[in-house]
């Protein structure tokens, strides 16, 4: 109990220092507004919002303000995706795909205002649940993580990439793993971290420092989005908003169990390395459909269905930050972009992170969710107007934003060439249904994986038993092997046989 109280006291201190600083509000309001706008515009994603703002705010302002800008945009964008889902039947972000299932039928039935109000409230509560989990669990994990050494770090990084590849693949899981390996391979370029041996530089001095994270992020997330979005789409009719947006307290209270359950699911899914808000939304929606009394109404305009996905995708934010801050492994694609911002500020997330940063992140998330809540309830009409802007108008501006953001982080033209090259490759990978998130996570975790794997072997004089002699490493190795085996057809056939026998 003392532990929780000390945590809350630390959080209170961080909150107070933010609240009394007028600049906090400037960054907070701007970033949440931009985030909701990015989320609301179909074709722009939460990951893109955080990536582009990393280019702008990543290393140009003090870290505290940079975190406000990036986390504000993250929270805003995940919530903003609900607008087109409800009013246009087009998910603004992948995280809001499940929202459209019930949001649009509700709006068609003249309950758009109610749907938007409840979504706003659920997103707010969801973010707070995730944030609270971050505040508590991050410290528990930080205590455990003191025992995490190189073997565990290497295996954890591998597990994050494999898990992300497995869960983010739309087509074959093997494609997710290939994407992850390509990302890891990209991280091998440049001077190796232990012996300073140049690798794959092809005599080009720019390559000696390896691929910069921000141009890779911009290329991987922005360029494919721009190429894919620059097509003529007949603008869908935005349904008019009927009914009041500010929700009825009794209705909120009625759906509180659903919101609570979905918040916990979202946080849990977010805490899995590399798994994003879209998976959280769908898992929570699926669970809601199974356990709810009105499960048969899901997909036909059920408020409970809507809240299941919307609470979970926002709760996922806090969850996704747990592995990022504790282990240095991003819990979702936007968290990967956030890690890029940490890296360019020379902050290394993981067991050695300054605890004050964690408390500040928690305080910022609470303020950002509050700002999102107020904006969602009282300025929704502005965002509905933004929905009408065609993709072909805003995407060219995004291209310019991406270019200047990517250039300014490294300050070199070569970064732009890197962004372009990664962008074209990522576009074709998208076309062939390779998930991009494992690639980016691979790029970010590649040097950690390389360094810790070799350091483990170095300390054990090449004895491979170092990966099984430590309990943590043994568990992680078993998890990695189990994950790979679970996807092999021979294992699947065996399990199916076993199931049939039992039945």
């Amino acid at each position: 109990m003392d532990f929780v109280i000390s945590q809350l006291a630390g959080f209170g201190g961080a909150m107070a220092s933010l609240v009394v600083d007028p600049l906090t509000y400037v960054y907070l309001i701007t970033s949440v507004f931009l985030g909701i706008t990015f989320g609301a515009l179909p074709g722009l994603t939460a990951t893109l919002a955080v990536t582009i703002l990393t280019g702008f705010f990543g290393n140009k302002i003090p870290l505290d303000y940079s975190l406000i800008a990036l986390l504000g945009a993250y929270v805003g964008a995940i919530y903003g995706g609900s607008y087109p889902s409800i009013l246009l039947n087009i998910p603004g972000t992948a995280a809001s795909a499940a929202t459209a299932m019930d949001g649009y039928p509700l709006a068609k039935a003249g309950r758009g205002g109610e749907a938007l109000g409840m979504t706003t409230t659920a997103s707010f509560i969801g973010t707070i649940i995730g944030t609270f989990a971050l505040l508590i669990f991050v410290w528990v994990l930080l205590l455990i993580s003191k025992n995490i050494a190189s073997p565990e770090k290497a295996l954890l990084a591998l597990f994050g990439i494999l898990l992300s590849g497995t869960l983010m693949s739309e087509d074959l899981v093997i494609k997710g793993w290939i994407a992850g390996i390509i990302g890891l391979a990209m991280a091998m370029v440049g001077m190796d971290p232990l012996l300073s041996e140049p690798r794959y530089t092809f005599g080009w001095s720019y390559m000696l420092s390896g691929f910069q994270v921000v141009p890779v992020l911009m290329g991987a997330f922005a360029i494919p989005q721009i190429i894919e979005g620059m097509r003529h789409i007949e603008a869908g009719k935005v349904l008019s908003l009927q009914g009041r947006i500010v929700p009825n307290f009794a209705t909120v209270r009625r759906y509180l169990p659903t919101i609570g359950r979905s918040g916990v699911i979202g946080t849990g899914v977010g805490a899995l390395p590399g798994v994003g808000e879209d998976v959280a939304g769908w898992v929570s929606y699926g669970v809601g459909k199974t356990v709810s009394k009105e499960g048969d109404q899901f997909g036909k305009g059920s408020l409970e269905g809507l809240l299941s996905s919307e609470t979970a995708n926002n709760a996922c934010i806090g969850g996704a930050l747990i592995p990022l801050l504790v282990l240095g492994i991003p819990g979702s694609p936007p968290a990967a972009a956030l890690m890029g911002a940490f890296k360019i500020n020379n902050v290394i997330p993981g067991p050695t992170i300054d605890p004050a940063i964690i408390l500040r992140v928690v305080a910022i998330l609470v303020l950002a969710s509050l700002t999102m809540f107020i904006m969602g309830l009282f300025t929704a009409k502005i965002f509905i107007k933004i929905l009408r802007i065609p993709q072909t108008v805003f995407l060219p501006v995004v291209m310019v934003l991406t270019t200047i953001g990517s250039f300014s982080v490294g300050g070199g033209i070569n970064d732009l060439y890197l962004m372009l090259g990664v962008g074209f490759v990522a576009y074709f990978m998208n076309l062939m249904r390779y998930p991009i998130a494992p690639l980016v996570i691979g790029v970010i975790l590649g040097s950690l994986f390389d360094e810790t794997l070799r350091r483990s072997l170095f300390l054990s004089d090449g004895d491979l038993s170092v990966f099984v002699s430590r309990p943590g490493a043994a568990i992680l190795l078993a998890l990695n092997i189990a994950l790979i085996l679970s996807q092999l057809p021979i294992t699947k056939r065996g399990l199916a046989k076993l199931k049939r026998k039992r039945a």
Partner: protein, 261 residues
């Protein structure tokens, strides 16, 4: 092995789409096999079993800089073989040379080709050499006009305009020492004005004709000024035609107004 590594819970929408994907997988697996073999060969140039570098031992195999790359490219090679087997068993190889296997229809190829050319000309040719406001203005004008409405002729026209500007800048001012010259700025500016005028003449009553120049001028100007003067960061081509003037007036005419003590 046909169902090797199927995805967990998500399924593709159409069997036809799956057929296209498997045919494409055939090609990509071949590309991945070649790439992984190339990089495995390239990795052999990194010492694996220790080597003397300026009299210092390079370490043992377990500490070698080649260890992880060997593992990664070896893994990539095996996964690519797995993907090849999946695609062949699903009929991908049989369809690989057909139009299904290539998977792109003419209009999609044109769309990607023109966007690719426009973006490449902008990033490779224009951004390093031409004033950022001018080249971004041309890009925004070209992309909005070219891809609104899905007209093939507009896509080709705008891609050619940006392509010509980019090619001129690239060829005329290739070395970095020539990037400060302004001839490519003028050419790009003329092409931008000409394209804007063309849009006005062709679509005088279209609201977008009036909106495009505003977005094309205001958005890059705000961005570059915010980055240069707000965040005090480096911006592309500081000596560009417009930016040079803006920067001069910012420091000489404007900044003294609030920085004098």
């Amino acid at each position: 092995m046909g169902a090797l590594f199927p995805s967990g819970d998500k399924t593709l929408d159409q069997p036809e789409e799956t057929a296209i994907l498997r045919a494409r997988d055939f090609w990509t697996s071949l590309v991945l096999i070649v790439l992984s073999l190339f990089f495995l060969w390239e990795t052999t140039s990194i010492p694996l079993f220790g080597e003397n570098r300026a009299g210092v031992s390079g370490g043992d195999w377990y500490n070698s800089a080649a260890l992880v790359p060997f593992g990664l490219f070896g893994g990539l090679f095996l996964l690519a073989i797995g993907l090849l087997v999946i695609s062949i068993r699903a009929g991908g190889a049989a369809r690989a040379m057909s139009s299904v296997g290539l998977g792109w229809d003419g209009s999609e190829a044109l769309r990607f080709g023109t966007i690719g050319m426009t973006i490449a000309a902008y990033v490779i040719g224009l951004v390093p050499r031409v004033d950022f406001i001018i080249c971004s203005g041309l890009l925004i004008t070209a992309l909005i006009y070219g891809y609104r409405g899905g007209h093939a002729q507009r896509m080709i026209l705008t891609a050619v305009v940006v392509g010509v500007a980019g090619l001129y800048a690239f060829v005329a001012n290739l070395p970095q020492s020539d990037w400060k010259l302004h001839d490519d700025d003028w050419i790009t500016l003329i092409l931008w004005i000409a394209l804007t005028a063309f849009i006005f003449v062709r679509h005088p009553r279209d609201r977008m004709s009036r909106v495009i120049p505003v977005i094309a001028l205001v958005a890059p100007a705000i961005l570059v000024c915010a980055m240069a003067f707000g965040f005090r960061q480096n911006v592309p081509n500081r000596g560009g035609l417009f930016f040079k003037t803006i920067e001069y007036h910012y420091y000489v005419s404007l900044k003294p107004l609030w920085s004098q003590k």
